[in-house]
């Protein structure tokens, strides 16, 4: 692709790839940011948005490809260097220091001096002015930590802008912690910055906001560049379709399996939730899961699907409604209590929450049993190997031996180890949060097949995924979440187009 040297171009990224050990995070990504535009960067989890931003801010270096700033090739060596070049960033998790004052958080690094030392009077004054430009007034001498997350977010933006030469402002999900008024205020600021010719990269998963403020959008999926579009020429459904993609269907065969097991799915209810909700995380909703049933949960990132999983597994305690398992109410919400009642959760972020990479497959699988038996029950080495080998065979984990370290396995096989870990505890309800994320098509099919086999044996499964075909293919019923609200419930005959419209809020 030949990039024209358009004087309106602020940043031109071409052919950028980046691989981390075991995973390709970005592959051949193109991205152009013009002066005075607000450009949304969209994609589901693992799409590569964060990696692209890390490259633009100098946290990571690209393996291949080039970056141009105002049509001059640059290499961004560090966050500090990025700031010098005029690329300022406000990160999703506010990366400021809560122990030092608001003023320091805004000004430090380019602080005014007097006699070689920091001139506090001037520093505080400049910080006050920087906040005033965003329409905020507060005591800048207090430590940042005493203020709300929303204020901290504004302080982060003030810092990004206080860098005199800021040409590019990257906002990584800035609105996820803001309420409607605060978001409106942020948008007003964004518009005035746009007027001033600053290019804004806006990462968000709120569709409404994209259509409210954005000029163009670049979509990534699984580390690949899908395309850049004028937002006015892209309907919501098209946008969602491009974000989620349509997997080339070598999985179609599975649909038949589904029809076969369907008849078995009426053996009574395992889970009944009524009015279950948690303020700020999930609006009260009703939910049932039958014995031997797959309940699909569809919804975009941030729609409340992970929050629902945490409630069902007791990670969070609901503040309204009730949850019945086998007709018995759950009174104490903790993972320990719910594991005892037969609930298991494979979390979304398997690296952080599910797996111990430095232990072997055998040890990871036995961890699950140990959790159930208690820490002091000794499980003999031979017995351990026996159990591990059984599940390696059952799940088709590709490994030379049970003593292989889990971190050396591929993503799909790691996912299977987590599954095995829960399966040894013989749960009655298995919650799978994005079980097929970041793994290849073949492994996806195997995991789906496995899910169908498990329900055949009477296990109930809550299947959370942003891949609609997958949800439609294996679920008996599908609950759709949008903006933390349950918006619809379908049986498995629903088309993925209808689902998509419901998720996008167009139905």
């Amino acid at each position: 692709m030949i990039v024209m040297a358009d004087p309106q171009n602020l940043i031109t990224v071409s052919g950028v790839s980046k691989a981390f050990p075991g995973v390709v995070a970005l592959e051949g990504v193109e991205f152009t940011l013009r002066k005075g535009e607000i450009h949304a960067l969209m994609g589901e989890n693992g799409a590569g948005k964060s990696t692209l931003i890390k490259i633009l801010t100098g946290v990571e270096q690209p393996d291949t490809g080039s970056i141009e700033l105002e049509n001059t090739a640059i290499s961004i060596r560090s966050p500090h260097h990025a700031q010098e070049l005029g690329i300022s960033t406000v990160y999703q998790e506010i990366n400021l220091c809560t122990n030092i004052s608001v003023a320091e958080n805004i000004m430090l690094g380019h602080e005014p001096r007097r006699f070689g030392g920091i001139c506090w009077k001037k520093l505080n004054e400049l910080a006050r002015q920087a906040l005033a430009r965003l329409g905020i007034e507060l005591d800048v001498t207090q430590p940042l930590g005493i203020y709300s997350i929303a204020i901290q977010q504004m302080v982060a933006i003030a810092r990004a802008l206080a860098i005199a030469s800021a040409k590019v402002l990257i906002l990584d999900e800035p609105t996820s912690s803001l309420d409607a008024t605060e978001t409106a205020r942020l948008f007003a600021v964004m518009r005035s910055l746009k007027q001033a010719g600053i290019g804004i990269v806006f990462v968000t998963h709120f569709l409404d906001q994209v259509y409210e403020i954005v000029d163009r959008v670049t979509i990534l999926r699984n580390g690949r560049f899908v395309g850049s579009f004028e937002i006015a020429a892209l309907s919501r459904v098209e946008l969602v379709a491009k974000m989620l993609g349509r997997v080339v269907d070598e999985l179609q065969a599975l649909a038949h399996d589904k029809d076969q097991v369907e008849s078995q799915s009426d053996k009574g209810r395992l889970i009944e939730a009524s009015g279950l909700g948690l303020r700020g995380a999930l609006e009260p909703l009703d939910l049932t899961v039958g014995v031997g049933e797959v309940l699909g949960i569809a919804g975009l990132l941030g729609s409340g699907r992970t929050e629902l999983a945490s409630l069902l597994f007791g990670i969070a305690t609901p503040d309204s409604g009730s949850l019945l398992i086998d007709g018995q109410p759950v009174t104490r919400f903790s993972p320990q209590a719910l594991i005892k009642r037969g609930v298991a959760l494979c979390p979304e972020d398997r690296k952080a929450e599910g797996i111990v990479g430095d232990l072997s497959i055998r040890e990871n699988i036995i961890l699950g049993l140990q959790g159930r038996y208690g820490w002091f029950k000794f499980i003999g080495r031979q017995k351990q190997t026996e159990i591990a080998e059984k599940y390696i065979k059952l799940l088709g984990i590709r490994t030379p031996s049970p003593d292989q370290l889990v971190k050396n396995l591929s993503g799909g096989n790691q996912q299977k180890v987590i599954l095995a870990r829960w399966l040894v505890t013989q749960p009655r309800l298995l919650i799978l949060d994005e079980p097929t994320r970041g793994i290849d098509v073949g492994a996806k099919a195997e995991i789906q097949k496995l899910v169908l086999e498990l329900v055949k044996d009477g296990m109930s499964i809550v299947f959370i995924s942003s891949e609609l075909e997958e949800v439609v293919r294996i679920s008996d019923r599908i609950v759709v979440l949008r903006d933390h609200v349950k918006v619809a419930e379908y049986d498995h005959a629903v088309s993925d187009r209808t689902l998509m419209q419901t998720m996008a809020g167009e139905a």
Binding site: S78, P79, T98, L108, E111
Partner: protein, 326 residues
């Protein structure tokens, strides 16, 4: 306004607590032993514990970044032993003193580089620094070496009489600690370096993303602590007019205890050098009470410091919890 006052009390609570504990300890001591009521008794705290203050200042910066420096006692002992050996060889003290400071700074710099570039725990790196430095001190001499250099003798034995206090005096090296404290306050509050130290202690990753030179600052902090250790070693060897590998054994823990009593959190980001001054004054007061008593074992110092530190940590957590709530 009351809200502001409340915030301010919560913020400075730990420091005020430390100062109060010091005043209480001193008043109790003065009631028990009237000799402690003389101004000279107060100045003796500085004369006898100046080296602790110097070590404490370096340690405070290290702990503010979230690190720890266990090498300070070793570097101090090495400095005394090396100075004594060099002076006895006839090297001019005007060469020896700067040389020692360069040595201490270099050791700290090396430890800092190991910590930063090889991502090794500060605890392990500086523990090895302690072994290394103390070991080297014994290589230089297995026994205590007396210093006979005239300049050292002059510095050690010439009292400076203070104005306003009748017959109260200090020695020249006594001034080093307070002078360094002034520099440290400036460094902590009026330089970018100092503020970045606080930022790193709060959240190293955030500090890096804000564009601060995290690695350089961390290395410099250990270099500063090494410099302070050597400076403390010079002061120590002047006041004892000797050099010996066994000097100040276990002092690193006394210094850490004083820094913690001074309100600096071991997790980094919170605290200041003024607190450290009072933490050291508390330790010094306890030592001097026990000396006036004369019959109690010197181990009571450690017992008192232990109990006080625990009480202090309790109070500090109380303030932290309150702060979270408000």
């Amino acid at each position: 306004m009351t809200q502001r006052l409340k915030l301010s009390v919560l913020r400075h609570g730990p420091l005020l607590t430390t100062i109060t504990i010091f005043l209480l300890a001193y008043i109790i001591g003065a009631q028990l032993y009237p000799a402690m009521q003389r101004p000279q008794a107060f100045f003796n705290l500085f004369i006898n514990n100046g080296f602790l203050l110097i070590l404490g200042i370096g340690m405070t910066f290290v702990i503010l970044t979230g690190g720890i420096d266990l090498s300070v006692g070793g570097v101090l002992a090495l400095t005394t032993a090396a100075s004594a050996a060099l002076l006895n060889l006839g090297v001019s003290p005007l060469v020896v003193m700067p040389l020692m400071l360069v040595m201490g700074t270099t050791i700290g710099l090396g430890l800092g580089c190991l910590i930063h570039f090889f991502k090794v725990q500060p605890f392990i790196v500086t523990l090895m620094g302690l072994f290394l430095a103390r070991g080297l001190a014994y290589i230089i001499s297995l026994t205590s070496v007396t210093i006979t250099d005239p300049l050292y003798k002059y510095l050690a034995l010439t009292p400076i009489y203070l104005p306003f206090f009748a017959k109260a005096y200090i020695y020249i090296p006594t001034l080093v600690g307070p002078a360094l404290l002034v520099v440290a306050v400036y460094l902590a509050y009026f330089t970018r370096f100092g503020r970045i130290v606080y930022a790193i202690g709060n959240n190293e990753q955030s500090a890096a993303l804000m564009g601060f030179p995290v690695g350089r600052t961390k290395i410099l902090v250990y270099a500063l602590s090494g410099f302070c250790s050597a400076l403390a070693g010079i002061v120590f060897s002047i006041s004892l007019l000797a050099g010996y590998g066994q000097f100040a054994t276990g002092v690193e823990l006394d210094v850490i205890a004083a820094v913690v009593m001074g309100g600096t959190l071991l997790t980094g980001g919170v605290g200041n050098v003024i607190g450290t001054l009072f933490g050291i004054l508390i330790e010094a007061t306890i030592i001097s009470i026990l000396q006036y008593n004369g019959t109690l074992s010197s181990w009571w110092t450690r017992i008192c410091v232990g109990v006080l530190t625990l009480i202090f940590i309790g109070i500090q957590s109380g303030f932290a919890l309150r702060k979270k709530k408000s």
